[in-house]
């Protein structure tokens, strides 16, 4: 078998298109890697071995027939977070509440990929309902980091970092996708809110949630985005999709460095040094960097968190044991059905988000409404900011989170670790994470670029320019088996 390990998704797609590699070969390669690595990293909750092989054969037929509806990534084996519904396939959202749920509908993002010839390897682990630090709260056991499996990861990221899938889709409702990608040395892309359909995506949040892409390179991510974005009649919030900026030149690209982010308490010096070093490299490539101030920066994090909890308490109320999902069958009345079904099947952490959410939505302590107003102030302030610069550069996380076994308060950990990812969630901005080095403790480090609404094009320009000149872009080839 050819060594496909070091290829990017685009490269593999091209080989498949030229028939230098068959779809079946690609799938078998991935399945073999999965056999080796899954015992250590448990990225997948469900592996669709037979289906992947039969889908590969179907796509091959289309390749052979020179089907013009195939995408540049046709036949490239990929993974989907288990937050993304596929008709008749088990979709759990990372929760015991949905452990036997088979949706009679597919998410729009999957339908679009499938039309283009995507081949699914399986569904990956994720934080329960997408709310957590980086995958720790998956009810069926978290995925692990291939670099050091004491650390949990979002499963889509783990699958790509572990060389098992060439790209994956995941949920970025509370930034877990980006944080995971940063710690695993892979690239991630979170699109502008409202660019990618949320129909069929199981999530605790609505206004903070976007389906993101994980890939070996930013270019891979960009290609996937092109396949899944666009107006969906089933999601009214995707209506005003504008074309992302055309990619431009690095020359005179204005990049802001938020002072407060780099100087905040608890900022790991190693991460800071690596990110600033990457910034210097970008300067060397022609960008102009200068310090900027973020609007109402102290309230971005609390506002995002209040909204996350508030929306979760509402979005997750439908899990009541009545129409689908786990249902307590030893109860005597309706209220007990609600309480037992939810208390037994919802995880420890998600319950706390829900309780806090109801607190924040209650009249007396209505932080939720306040948070929505702060959002308006932040969005207005960002308009001014993005007049002065094209994007912001920041670390992804303030510090390496504690390993799984040292059970911190997940809630507080999620809050603190969202320090730099919260802005994109709150203001619906596009963001990319790009590997830029390693921590002294061995885990990878990434920097983050956050752009203005629909500013993906410029983000990709900068990230791509960086990746073409650095040595960090393809990671799994260097990772020991």
């Amino acid at each position: 078998m050819k060594n496909l390990e070091s290829l990017t998704a685009l490269e593999l797609g091209e080989l498949i298109r030229r028939r230098a590699v068959s779809c079946e070969e690609a799938v078998r390669h991935c399945l073999e890697v999965m056999e080796r690595r899954e015992p250590r990293i448990s990225a997948f909750l469900e592996i669709s071995r037979e289906k992947a092989l039969s889908d590969a054969k179907e796509v091959q037929k289309r390749v052979d027939a020179d089907d013009q509806t195939l995408s540049p990534l046709a036949g490239v084996p990929m993974a989907l977070s288990d937050s993304i519904c596929i008709r008749d396939l088990k979709t759990t959202g990372g929760s015991r509440m949905l452990q036997n749920f088979h949706p009679p509908y597919s998410a729009t993002v999957w339908e679009r990929l499938k039309t283009g010839g995507a081949v699914l390897l399986g569904k990956t682990a994720l934080d329960e309902f997408g709310m957590g630090v980086s995958g720790e709260t998956c009810a069926f056991g978290p995925a692990r980091n291939v670099w050091d499996n004491r650390w949990a990861l979002d499963g889509s990221v783990a699958a790509v970092a572990g060389g098992e899938a060439f790209y994956a889709l995941g949920s970025d409702g509370t930034g877990a996708l980006r944080r995971s990608a940063a710690m695993a040395g892979v690239s991630s892309l979170r699109p502008t809110w409202g660019t990618v359909s949320r129909y069929g995506v199981v999530s605790g949040t609505s206004s903070l949630e976007q389906v993101g892409v994980v890939g070996r390179t930013i270019s891979d991510c960009a290609q996937v985005l092109a396949l899944i974005r666009g107006r969906d009649h089933r999601d009214s919030t995707t209506s005003q999709v504008q074309l992302a900026d055309e990619r431009s030149s690095m020359q005179e690209m204005k990049i802001g460095l938020p002072d407060c982010y780099f100087h905040q308490e608890g900022m790991d010096p190693c991460i800071k040094e690596r990110v600033l070093s990457a910034a210097k490299q970008l300067e060397g490539l022609g960008a102009v960097l200068f310090p900027v101030e973020l609007p109402i920066v102290d309230l971005i994090l609390p506002a995002y968190f209040a909204i996350a909890c508030g929306e979760a308490s509402s979005n997750l109320a439908r899990y009541d044991g009545i129409r689908y999902g786990y249902s307590a069958n030893d109860v005597e009345n309706l209220q007990e059905l609600y309480i037992q079904s939810r208390s037994r099947a919802l995880g420890n952490q998600i319950k706390k988000y829900i309780l806090l959410g109801n607190l924040f939505l209650s009249e007396k302590e209505n932080c939720y409404n306040k948070a929505l107003q702060v959002r308006e102030l932040v969005v207005q302030g960002l308009d001014n900011l993005f007049d002065r610069c094209d994007m912001i550069l920041s670390p992804v996380v303030p510090s390496i989170p504690l390993p799984m076994e040292e059970k911190p308060s997940q809630l507080l950990e999620c809050y603190r670790q969202s320090a730099f990812t919260a802005l994109a969630n709150l203001a619906g901005l596009p963001a990319v994470t790009v590997p830029c080095g390693y921590h002294s403790e061995g885990l990878p480090i990434s920097f983050q670029l956050i752009g203005k609404p629909y500013g993906e094009g410029k983000l990709l320009t900068v990230a791509d320019a960086y990746q073409k000149t650095d040595g960090f872009s393809k990671t799994s080839g260097e990772v020991e088996a």
Partner: protein, 95 residues
């Protein structure tokens, strides 16, 4: 903001969730730091500022009044934990 027992009782009721005794014990202390942050949030002046329910406001997105056949109806019923014929069954609420 602090969470007293009574408030925690009410929150559990709104959430239809019952925490275990251990969970109840640690919850107030665990969320303490976060609530302190929320106090910061609450102290921000926002008179006249609109509430943005989403990061971008979309306007006038409509679906036309044309029937889409309910092809998933039986599959939806298959997912129901308790049924009686085509009805979904739930235990009675206590009056």
């Amino acid at each position: 903001m602090k969470i007293e027992d009574e408030l925690l009782e009410r929150l559990q009721e709104y959430s239809r969730i019952q925490l275990t005794k251990q969970e109840l014990e640690i919850f107030p202390a665990e969320v303490g730091p976060i609530l302190a942050e929320m106090d910061k949030l609450l102290s921000q002046k926002t008179d006249g500022v609109r509430r943005m329910g989403s990061p971008r406001v979309c306007f006038n997105v409509f679906r036309e009044d044309v029937v889409e056949p309910s092809t998933a109806n039986n599959a939806i019923l298959e997912e129901a934990p308790a049924r009686q014929g085509r009805y979904i069954r739930v235990p009675k609420a206590v009056e």
